[in-house]
Symmetry: D3
Subunit: 136 residues, 6 copies
Amino acid sequence: MATYGFVEYEDASAAVRAVYDDIRTVRQTDYINNFWKALAHDPATLRRTWESVKQIMGPGGALDPLVKEMIYVAVSATNGCGYCVASHTVAAKRAGMTPEMFGELMAVVGMANETNRLAVGYQIEIDERFRTSSLP
Amino acid sequence: MATYGFVEYEDASAAVRAVYDDIRTVRQTDYINNFWKALAHDPATLRRTWESVKQIMGPGGALDPLVKEMIYVAVSATNGCGYCVASHTVAAKRAGMTPEMFGELMAVVGMANETNRLAVGYQIEIDERFRTSSLP
Amino acid sequence: MATYGFVEYEDASAAVRAVYDDIRTVRQTDYINNFWKALAHDPATLRRTWESVKQIMGPGGALDPLVKEMIYVAVSATNGCGYCVASHTVAAKRAGMTPEMFGELMAVVGMANETNRLAVGYQIEIDERFRTSSLP
Amino acid sequence: MATYGFVEYEDASAAVRAVYDDIRTVRQTDYINNFWKALAHDPATLRRTWESVKQIMGPGGALDPLVKEMIYVAVSATNGCGYCVASHTVAAKRAGMTPEMFGELMAVVGMANETNRLAVGYQIEIDERFRTSSLP
Amino acid sequence: MATYGFVEYEDASAAVRAVYDDIRTVRQTDYINNFWKALAHDPATLRRTWESVKQIMGPGGALDPLVKEMIYVAVSATNGCGYCVASHTVAAKRAGMTPEMFGELMAVVGMANETNRLAVGYQIEIDERFRTSSLP
Amino acid sequence: MATYGFVEYEDASAAVRAVYDDIRTVRQTDYINNFWKALAHDPATLRRTWESVKQIMGPGGALDPLVKEMIYVAVSATNGCGYCVASHTVAAKRAGMTPEMFGELMAVVGMANETNRLAVGYQIEIDERFRTSSLP
């Protein structure tokens, strides 16, 4: 299910097929997941989102892809997005996440969510030294 | 500012001092930040929260402390917690986060927040293969 | 499913029936959706919520009903409320939302969610001119 | 304030200046707001974010720019992003939002946030007809 | 500060004054807080919101006013609303909240936020017995 | 379903069984719900979370267990956590929550979510008297 259903490759316009082809090449798989097939109803959003994901999540940056996938899962769990937790947990596993890493990831996510609310609930002012830290 | 103000070391009970002393030892600094000084009005929560943070965020696990601090920042930015972003960004820098790493961290956080909402807004069903993935 | 089940018209009290009747009249349909049938267990909340929705979402104001329904969908997607996305997407379509409008709505929702977190994560201070804008 | 401060035009690299120049041209103003000057520490994110905002928020689509700015404010209020509420409220006013429109916008945002939580709290199942609506 | 500033009693229309008068009578204080003075730019929203708050938060229901104020603080801390935490913490204190009660309130809020994210992050299916509980 | 499935008692390690046994003793039931069986893949998180829940949610504090369960439901509904709403609504009913109490709980949760967003959307500054309240 998706608001306008899924656009399959064989029914896709040339613009959508070009994105699907690139996804397949970059990810080295024939599988196009539901997220992209739902977005394909809006080819401009499909292309922009895919180009951004490809640029941000790929290898070669200062953070390795496994760390980036775990950050993605952390955000998705915090936002309560079931789809994104499911898809990026699989992506993180493919990138090398072990059950022990997942356990620690969740422990940090849980703790951060807890202390985030304590900081707000106790109305805690930011320490001057955090505002003026000279650390690069 | 904080709901009941801050508990300074010299005004603290023995139970609170014991936690402050442990924070100083573990963090190798004399500085106790506002978060702990506000929580000190409830010694049980102070102790439990500190013991949890110490257990979760310390070295020796499957994720290194820098990665855990970046996950903490990711969650805090997603929740809009100014205090936590400020304090954990400093902690991440101390643990070795470079400006390049921070830039990529934010790029992933931004992208995840964007696609989390697209997945919900388009009402996208979870792919069967994500539910039944046999990856360990 | 709902915490206390659904209250059907034939089992409803006079107070609940009066609200159901008004919903049917205003919406020009016999259908009462699950939201109202669940809320009916608390007649005071049912009435107050319906009166507010009727006052806010109806025609004749400064914003037309289609715009208001799209704003409703934007908030609901941001909050991750599956029920509300489903019901208000249908309402928006009934009010004239085309697939192109929906695509743009989602693009804005995604972008806003992304930049909201960047603004917090980068700890960006509000520009003086935004605080003191003299625009009416 | 911002995590790495602001990049002013005179200190900016050619890549950053190119984005600033484009912002000035598109927005027909010399003013570059803090958001872009903070993001400029990561030129790739600066460029990608600006290109996306320009593509999404500009004129010529199915939704007019005023409606898109109001949707931006709705999301930002829901996420509790002070920076984004301040900047996009000014942008919405520039695009023609009257005080009456703002009042109705907020009324819808408030109501949607209220019913979003009622739908979750009452554990209300989605109506079959919302899942299978044949509206285009 | 507020988007359109504050409406003071002496500058208010008759419709706004009537609400201000009622607030003063019900709350037995001359003080009108900023929330109402900002909302007064939209008299319809001012009236509706005040009537709802009066109906929901007053005495005589199944929950006593102190419990309701603490629930309000719990929601406001979870949403990161500084204004609402500040105002409703004062209201809860006026209704009899002690520092010990506040400490426990925050402990529950923190714990709930932590386990909420663990439940989503671990993708935990709802127990059949929670769906079919026959408890009234 | 859960990311790594559920750990049943007969397959559990001694460390996990010790927690399960304590849950059974404290709750006076044989039933271990899915939340704990999913967390059991990370025995350290299982133990820490259970010990915290036991400390926070049990009797003998300044708030009675029913009030604490209702606060838990309030937070869970605000965060959109279906699992937590389902499990803690049952726990609140067991602790004595009546349908009338639930109705009022939801009314407060809805209202707080509405006014939280209005306060942010209208950019309302905190009243000086809320910051400097001398109430204990």
